[in-house]
Amino acid sequence: MSGVHAHALHYHGHSPVHRLAPEVKIVALFTFVAAVIATPTQAVWAFGVLAGVLAVAVGLAELPVGFFLKRLSIEIPFVIFALAMPFVGQGPHVEVGGMSLSVPGLWGTWNVLAKATLSVGASVVLSATTEVADILAGFDRLRAPRLLTAISGFMVRYLEVVAAELGRVRTAIAARLGDRPRRREAATLASVSGTMFIRAYERGERIHQAMLARGYTGVMPAAAAPRLPVRWTAAVSWMAAAWVVAVAAILTA
């Protein structure tokens, strides 16, 4: 693989986690998230330990803490809803700094905040250490439906092509609208979206022709990408650690 990277979420590196086979990382991500979800809300200590398990992965991936925290911020829009829960929740209330907060609401906020942060954190480790193409190849090897991985692959491939096309259209509009207010530009862009749809549709047709020309018969061939070392032992012990915590929390709850 060359040094040019396909997506902005990727953090270039050669850590053991970067060199791990993508299918292993995908399984590890889902297993970890399942453990986080299974952990009872009240077992606050368990979330602390799970955060430690996640920190081990971040450390092994050699991701800078600043980079990791910045990528975590993607969860903010989802967490904002959770912050409202203590104010609108029912049940017993407590006084905190002159405000009356619902106790079940507070637990609800904690539940969302802790579980979302840990799950998003684990996803950040996957996306930072794995190229999009490799993630898709990993899903292929895990026998995910070929059609779904193919569609995701096309989406990633053509998102930039369509974005570049839209960018050119915007430039063309700006060139003719000059300094008119942005509202006007927005209205023009809306009417342009129809044209964009037709362009994308026609491109789809041409791609289909190019696929047929190379013997496409309706089934995407498997990814024949070079395989990375699997190292199940290390990955499984990491996943097991998360589940030991979850099970201990369930039993003590």
Binding site: M1, S2, V4, A6, E131, V132, A133, L136, G153, F154, V156, R157, Y158, E160, V161, R203, R206, I207, Q209, A210, M211, L212, A213, R214, G215, Y216, T217, P221, A222, A223, A224, A225
Partner: protein
């Protein structure tokens, strides 16, 4: 020379009534490099698609290496005739260059080692082995064009058909492409508006106009025939005199 590709009386009318091909006949011998010239709307792209049955001609025949085009022979004909489309963004649809070059051989149902060997060989032939893991949208125009050619080479075609290969290339990219095409070695059909490029690479040209073959002969002679050129909306760049340049 052995005749490799035979096109006989090929005709196609689009559903809206546009007659794109009105009986096209020509043949190409093994090892030849032929330019296909003609104005916009002459039917060049339709002809390419009809060669491999993506557009189904209503009349006429296509034979390549003795195999006659029919729905049963589509896979075989599509392996033998490799088409490099005009826009590399259409040709390169997989997440990485490697997977794109492997797409054709994988569709042929070849074993993994064979797919890998052919992918490696095709990438080396266009000098793109270093860029195998890159995403197509991160390639330069020249690199994308070379990758697109590799996706066809990996199928080991008998004839490569290139649609406007010099479009969107800078002069250096265009020169490198010319050199690449002379090293690739298979029979080639180059569809182009770039007449100096045709003169440089192709000893023979076929002029298509209004869905018919208007002329077929040595490129230097066709490009020097001012009446023929004018009648078919072909025009040389300003100051370009094919008489003073030695064609191949």
């Amino acid at each position: 020379m052995n005749v490799l590709l035979e096109v006989e009386d090929l005709a196609y009318t689009y559903p809206d009534g546009t007659e794109a091909l009105r009986g096209v006949t020509f043949s190409v011998a093994e090892g030849e490099r032929v330019a296909l010239l003609g104005p916009n709307g002459a039917g060049k792209t339709t002809l390419l698609l009809a060669l491999i049955g993506i557009v189904r001609a209503q009349r006429g025949e296509v034979r390549v290496g003795g195999v006659s085009l029919s729905p049963e022979t589509y896979p075989e004909v599509r392996r033998r005739i490799g088409i490099v489309f005009q826009d590399p963004d259409d040709q390169l649809f997989m997440p990485t260059v490697w997977r794109d070059v492997a797409f054709g051989p994988a569709n042929l149902g070849l074993p993994d080692e064979e797919v890998e060997a052919r992918t490696r060989e095709a990438l080396a032939a266009v000098d793109m082995d270093e860029q195998a893991g890159r995403a197509p949208h991160h390639l330069s125009g020249g690199e994308a064009r070379r990758a697109a050619i590799a996706t066809v080479l990996s199928m080991r075609p008998d004839v490569i058909v290139l649609d406007e290969p010099t479009s969107n290339l800078d002069p250096v990219g265009r020169r490198e492409l010319a050199r690449l095409l002379t090293t690739v070695g298979t029979t080639q059909i180059v569809v182009t508006h770039d007449l100096p490029f045709a003169l440089q690479l192709c000893p023979r040209s076929i002029v298509l106009n209004a869905g018919r073959v208007a002329a077929d002969g040595p490129t230097p002679r066709l490009l020097s025939d001012t009446d023929l050129m004018a009648a078919n909306r072909l025009e040389l760049p300003y100051g370009f005199d094919p008489g003073t340049i030695a064609g191949r």
